[in-house]
């Protein structure tokens, strides 16, 4: 039936649930586009035939047109949903994506993410605040963190340097930890 392939795309997104992005389904998208192409060609044929005087073709044309509209709508929804989740990645993981997630995006989606990054950065520069930080209301100024990787030395805003090695515990200011937590270098305990 018309539109069935397209519906698979939406079901696939739905099955994956919130925040998890399936690979861009290039194959199915291509099949849907092909279905649209053949629908369009058949319509074109029938419309030409009708204009030459043949009767009773219009219901078919209308049905196919509705199928075309539906396929278009579903494809755009698929892209839009994905684009929203991709933009969300910027908030969860920062500017650098892990390779396994990166490989799930289509090339144009990667460039969408880059452009999104750029406009978000431009916005934050304009207002003068990094809004990807301070995500949770602060309960205390200092928090205890455990270092999970061998990261080496970092410089704190107070000017002190701190050596982060695996398994060590630190008592740091929240604002200083957040970028480290986001990058997975330390975890909150």
């Amino acid at each position: 039936m018309f539109g069935e392939k397209a519906l698979e795309l939406i079901k696939e997104l739905k099955r994956c649930g919130d925040g998890l992005l399936p690979s861009f389904n290039e194959e199915t998208v291509r099949q849907v586009l092909e279905e649209m192409k053949s629908l369009f060609e058949e319509n074109h044929k029938d419309v030409t035939a009708s204009s030459e005087g043949e009767q009773g073709l219009f219901p078919g044309v209308q049905l196919r047109h509705a199928a075309l509209e539906r396929n278009k709508r579903i494809l755009l929804t698929y892209l839009n949903e994905r684009a929203t989740s991709i933009a969300e990645l910027r908030w969860q993981m920062g500017t650098v994506l892990p390779p396994d997630i990166r490989s799930r995006l289509a090339e144009h989606e990667l460039s969408w993410l880059q452009k999104y990054n750029k406009s978000l950065t431009a916005y934050m520069r304009a207002v003068g605040a990094d809004i990807t930080h301070n995500l949770k209301p602060p309960k205390s100024l200092l928090i205890e963190v455990r270092c999970t990787t061998e990261h080496g030395s970092i410089e704190l805003t107070s000017g002190r340097t701190l050596h982060l090695s695996r398994g060590t515990h630190h008592f740091l200011e929240r604002s200083e930890c957040e970028p480290l937590i986001a990058r997975g270098i330390v975890e909150e305990i």
């Binding site: 649209m36 406009s119 304009a126 602060p138």
Partner: protein, 219 residues
Amino acid sequence: MEDEEDNIFSGSDDEEAMTAGEVLQKLEEAWMNEALSPELLMNKSDIIDCMMEQINEMENNIQRVKTNDLKIYIHKMELERIRYLLTSYLRIRIKKIEKYATAIMMEDGKRDPDDAKLTDSELQFAREREKNLLELFQNLVLQHMPPNMQSLEKDKICSKPNLDEYVFFRVNQDVEGVLVEEETVDNREEVIDLKKGEQHIMRYKIIRPLAETGAVSLI
């Protein structure tokens, strides 16, 4: 030394009549309203700019005072709280703009540029987002579609905020004659008076203008 510490919360030198405390209160109010309303509200750039200045001032003051005093700890904590409030407010707005970029820009296009909901930088962000999204659509699917399917009526397909959502709110000043239900064939119209201090739950659409003027606060 004592003086410096006490000055941490005092305002900057400009002639602004509001005290730092009042600005903070306004920010809290704006933050609550923005977080709870389904649509984007008017920008409060004056409050935000003012608060940004205050934060910078406070930061400088704290840095000048170099002791491990408990007071510093408390001031720093307060600073973190305000910073959270500020970033959270901006974040909520940006998320709404992302969701409804096209709808908001069309709405703003109809009003006086001075009354625009978006600040300049927000407008820039919304424009770029819309453009990039259209580019993505174009590159991945639209250009491969049959010729009569390639156009996009963005005003028809863009998502719009649900103004019929129910919201809780508190009344800040008396308002008379609020139209709750339009007159229909089956029902007579329903009009109520809101009294200061009351709390209600209603559709957002009804109190939309009141939320904007501050006559009610969303809670």
